[in-house]
């Protein structure tokens, strides 16, 4: 691990100021992704700003009937919150399907959204990777791609975003709230939060350097049956091959978002509309622009079948 200067931020203003002052600064929350990558020197911040002392650890009701989830709320606490379990069960389910009990006790809402890909070539510092080292090439293209993206890829990168929580956030239409170094705040709808890889796969979100996530808000509950189905190589403590998060109303209408298929949770308006016509129709819309490789083409039928299972569970 490369050395760095360490400081604890006492206020959000201090955190963003510190992050802008030092080039190569990074915030650290749970540390479960950042430290993993720092040990491998895939991340090498010169300055680590510990945000754990900030008062972003609460879940509060919003005036319009939704919830405001502090950036530092731990994944365990978010999944266990009574309002979340009752009104946004999709979010509890997605969180509980991720990582392990120990990791969820540390992992935060903001850190989870910003966790980086699990592309094995991104992790292998002996291999070219445009995301890790811009311009070096993509080892996945033409390599082992079993768990790579089938949607939204570019010629520079075909990595997936590995978060389960983000899939639920996407289906629930969450908004990311931030604070910028100039003191300005903004709200970024989750639909616009992740950037397509294009030819800059190292830039993954709309956040500006030094911009701090303060909270994630959820609009008022939409009800319905909420189901998160994750398919993985072992029953627990493994990332998704694919996952389906769905909210299905009693009339059969609803929403669906996919995990494990793109650089972001994948949701398509036409697929939501097609849900009324069943899994085949909705999957066709979700996967319309798919560009699978020989090795990950299995994800297409797997998604249709998983969605089909989710819809029959929702009806049952």
């Amino acid at each position: 691990m490369k050395s760095f200067a360490y400081e604890r931020a006492a206020s959000p203003a201090e955190a963003v100021a510190a992050a802008t002052r030092a080039e190569g600064a990074k915030f650290i929350a749970g540390g479960t992704n950042l430290l993993d990558l720092m040990k491998l020197e895939i991340e090498a911040p010169t300055h680590l700003i510990d945000v754990n002392g900030l008062a972003f650890d609460k879940i509060e009701a919003t005036p319009d009937g939704g919830l405001r989830i502090g950036a530092l709320v731990r994944n365990t606490d978010l999944a266990a919150d009574e309002r979340v379990r009752r009104d946004y069960p999709l979010l509890s389910r997605a969180l509980l399907a991720g990582a392990s009990g120990q990791l969820r006790n540390k992992a935060t809402t903001a850190g989870n959204l910003l966790q980086r890909t699990r592309c094995p070539y991104f992790y292998d510092t002996n291999q070219p990777c445009n995301k890790r080292q811009p311009g070096s090439g993509c080892s996945a293209i033409g390599g082992f791609t079993r768990n790579h993206a089938i949607l939204g890829t570019s010629d520079a990168c075909i990595a997936t975003h590995p978060s389960d929580m983000a899939v639920a956030m996407r289906a629930l239409d969450a908004t990311v709230e931030t604070l910028r170094a100039d003191g300005g705040t903004r709200s970024i709808p989750i639909a616009e939060f992740y950037r397509p890889p294009g030819d800059t796969p190292q830039i993954e979100t709309m956040l500006m350097p030094g911009e701090l996530i303060t909270a994630v808000t959820l609009p008022e509950p939409v009800g319905g049956r909420q189901i998160y189905r994750k398919v993985r190589d072992r029953a627990s403590y493994a990332f998704a091959l694919v996952s389906v998060g769905a909210i299905v109303q009693s009339d059969g209408s609803g929403r669906v978002a996919l995990g494990g298929v793109a650089h972001k949770p994948w949701r398509v308006e036409a697929a939501d509309t097609a849900l009324l016509r069943g899994a085949k129709a909705a999957a066709a819309q979700l996967l319309a622009s798919a560009t699978p490789t020989h090795q990950n083409a299995f994800k297409l039928p797997l998604i249709e079948r998983t969605l089909s299972a989710v819809l029959s569970e929702a009806r049952g």
């Binding site: 650290i28 479960t32 430290l35 993993d36 040990k39 010169t46 365990t76 009990g101 120990q102 540390k106």
Partner: protein, 175 residues
């Protein structure tokens, strides 16, 4: 600057005792415990959050000590396997692991035991799991629940059935 180590003071309550250390900020909680405090009960398996051997209890919660920096734990209370019990005075979970043969080589065991102790508190507090059928109900103490909740602790010797027996016995006694 980057290759000059940055040193920092940190004070933690480890197994009930205040311990003050001056550490390179890069030191993980795991390395602080093992290399600096010589509490070698906590084990390093993968050093990347993938095995659970390094599980300790911080402020009442189980975490992977390999994926957190010691300096991030100023003032925190940390319980390791050495703090749970001693050979003369075993914690009930330690005694149950001995009774049920919940190990072979024993390398994963301190992590398993710390994890299991804090995991039962999570169930008591009503924390749901991936296999809980009803998110709104008090979680059940079934083997399926215990297995899912212990999935962050890998045992290379595959002592899993005996580990579940040991935890079940303690859980039965507790509730």
């Amino acid at each position: 600057m980057p290759d000059q180590p940055t040193m920092s003071d940190v004070s933690m309550l480890v197994n009930g005792e205040t311990r003050k250390l001056r550490l390179d900020v890069r030191t993980t909680l795991l390395d602080a415990l093992r290399e600096h405090l010589h509490l070698t009960g906590t084990k390093k398996g993968c050093d990347h959050g993938q095995c659970g051997a390094c599980t300790v209890i911080v402020a009442g919660r189980r975490i992977n000590s390999c994926l957190t920096l010691a300096v991030m734990h100023e003032g925190d209370s940390v319980t390791t396997i050495e703090g749970l019990g001693t050979p003369e005075n075993l914690h009930p979970m330690q005694a149950a692991f001995v009774k049920h043969d919940g190990y072979q080589c024993g390398y994963c065991t301190p992590g398993q035991i710390c994890s299991a102790v804090a995991m039962l508190d999570e169930i008591k507090a009503g924390t749901p799991s991936h296999v809980s059928a009803d998110l709104m109900a008090q979680p059940q103490l079934t083997a399926m629940e215990l297995r899912e909740r212990m999935s962050g602790n890998i045992c290379r010797c595959a002592a899993y059935p005996n580990i579940i027996d040991a935890i079940s016995e303690v859980a039965g006694r507790k509730t």
